[in-house]
Subunit: 231 residues, 4 copies
């Protein structure tokens, strides 16, 4: 069945207890004679921590934010989108397997907004129903799920558990919040970023498209918000 | 159009000039007072190199074979298969983009053998034609390729350039040559392994299912060739 | 100054709130039609979670435990040891920099037990004092810390913040708890494992030398506890 | 013994047969309906390949250059330097082991130029001799190499075989050719880059400090060649 406009469904199910403090002791450990656990125990002032961490991040030393990992549950995102999502090699994924899970009833699918704009939404839904019918027939004839899925479209949704550290989340946000990114992944990464910012508002300035951090655009096709870098 | 049984098409387009010697100096460097370039220049006897490298690999020190990288071109493999293939995070991939490349004429697709066994091959081909027709219609109506592809099935083929080092190739062979692996990836990895063995016959004993190296099976569902490990 | 026998100092400063449940939903997501967040909300029985997770781990599907990350502070470990520790490429490290931090007073150092056994402890301490004196002289003459450190020995201690996921921790424990591992890293990994087992006792059977999991030894030089694998 | 000013010794022992063509088919595969092996066979014009690859690299799509791997032998570099070098996690290293290799005669060491500037070269050499003498005594008393090495200084040299792909080499050059990098690693990476540029002159514009690519400096302490980025 078609999913509604609230999709994808994203929840943050695990986050570090004290990310700012963890990053702070990582930064301090590099430049201090003191033991890191002593620094941890001393409980620095929040503003002092924000100042140091901000300075370190702005000079590009992002290894210190690898110490904070976030885990998300994601549902209602097309296999077209997950195929590109799993290319981010520093994210750990557990994804619903079409080899093992048999789709029962009508499989869930995404309808791109451009399909609606040109008035093909009805025909699109009809094709999905036809595919679904044939998938059911294949399963009934004894074809294993891993082969029956060959007829399922890129539009069919998937579910994942995804864990990534803050360095990778910022990297992905910088890339995928760009208007040139595919619409679903842009929406997904926007939701992931919002969930983290809700917990740690000071991260808002990093979880943005790359142009907002660089003050220029290095895309071949620019949206015009920033001047293009002369290549 | 349906692809024939010779698929996938795999070619080895780049390989190290002297892999055995490269691995040999890597092994020797760890345990020698001599400079590695001196070891390189000395030109050891082939059997001596094979003996040392064999001993190192059998004791599990696989980091020394990361120095050899192989590049393959791959075509005629389903998107179902490439979605799992790209999960191997130590492989570098460049894949044909369905966002940018418009499928012209009839898109190429895989037909699993089980579809033929139950006599659904005709109906399957008919469904593929219907999907193709609708894809064309979407493109004609001005829907961008990245959205039109939502109707393309997992069966649609893709092309990739893939590079990986010998450690990763052996790891993937050990996993994917198992009878439990998906049929296409098993065939693909078999072809990749054969191309490398053609160049370096001494690698044959490593490019096998894991059971042949372990002398036991650790799969939940065993094919029976080896005794299952008591878990 | 020489460090005492309680070293290295290791603390666990950040761990996942609910690791078993996180791994459980990762395992379930792969094989379930349900949304992962629904599985999360349902709150499974602890024994059911342990049973599933145990079965998945024993069949070698370790990707599901990448979702749990642990952060440790480490002090009082030699630079000899940290040079090999940082070779574990899936761990995130922030390490005290000898380029930036000037050693004040007497630098801290490790004395291997074999030095004591042969009665060279006094001479060893004397040499360390001489090195320390010359280091101070270099600093006073205006040599920057990054060059003065060239005289500091491998014995000099370092501090790190280290974060790693459960898959990597088990991998490292399997390798580094072996009697063939260097004595400091063996002690360090033993302490890290104990801190995690204290929180999650069910992990005890995985945080062991590899032989205890394989029921054989694949080291070239065996301690004799298990039969050696015929290579 | 002290090493001379020609150090480190760096050789390129393995490189891809046809790196430009390999990168070209990787770029083309992403945007073409043709099979990659057909593109390979067609043999494009060199200027056309340079134009496409240049355009792709400048827009930041560096994954296509992961297909080219280079292997270097490196000797005469301090353990101070190798400890930071091995932090580059995308490089494969095989390094001379101080645990297994006993230093015979006088161990080789680096003397930073600042030691010479302040006139401490003689005292420095004397300290190295004293350390060497004590190391020999430890070995004679039966202390294993892995413990005797605790007295060896950061100045002691090491040897490595290092393999890395072009993406990582450019990344490392961008970081380590900066005047703020440690002097040995800067010299080492300069030599590695020169060896690759000798084979592939078109890579010269990428194997430079990051400021030359960004047209600004993002270091906290700038050398003044470029304007500092307002952070």
């Amino acid at each position: 069945m078609p999913v509604n406009s609230e999709f994808p469904i994203v929840h943050l199910v695990s986050e570090p207890v004290n990310p700012l403090k963890t990053i702070y002791i990582a930064c301090r450990t590099c430049y201090s004679a003191d033991y890191p656990f002593n620094i941890w125990e001393k409980d620095a002032d929040k503003q002092a921590m924000l100042d140091l961490v901000g300075k370190v991040l702005k000079s590009g030393h992002h290894s210190t934010i690898e110490h904070c990992q976030y885990t998300f549950t994601i549902s209602g995102i097309s296999r077209a989108c997950t195929h590109q999502l799993v290319r981010h090699r520093h994210v750990s994924f557990s994804q619903k397997s079409q080899r093992y899970v048999v789709e029962k009833g009508q499989f869930e699918y995404i309808t791109p907004s451009t399909v609606k704009s040109v008035g093909l939404q009805g025909d699109y839904a009809e094709l999905m129903d036809k595919i679904n019918e044939f998938y059911d027939k294949m399963i009934q004839k004894g074809i294993p799920a891993e082969d029956a899925r060959f007829v399922l479209p890129n539009a069919a949704t998937s579910s994942l558990v995804a864990s990534l550290n803050l360095r990778e989340l910022i990297h992905i946000a910088n890339l995928r919040l760009c208007v040139n990114a595919q619409h679903e992944i842009r929406k997904l990464v926007g939701k992931m970023s919002a969930l983290v910012i809700e917990k740690e508002p000071w991260l808002e300035e990093y979880l943005v498209p790359k142009c907002d951090r660089n003050n220029y655009c290095d895309e071949i096709k620019s949206c015009g918000r920033y001047q293009q870098k002369v290549l």
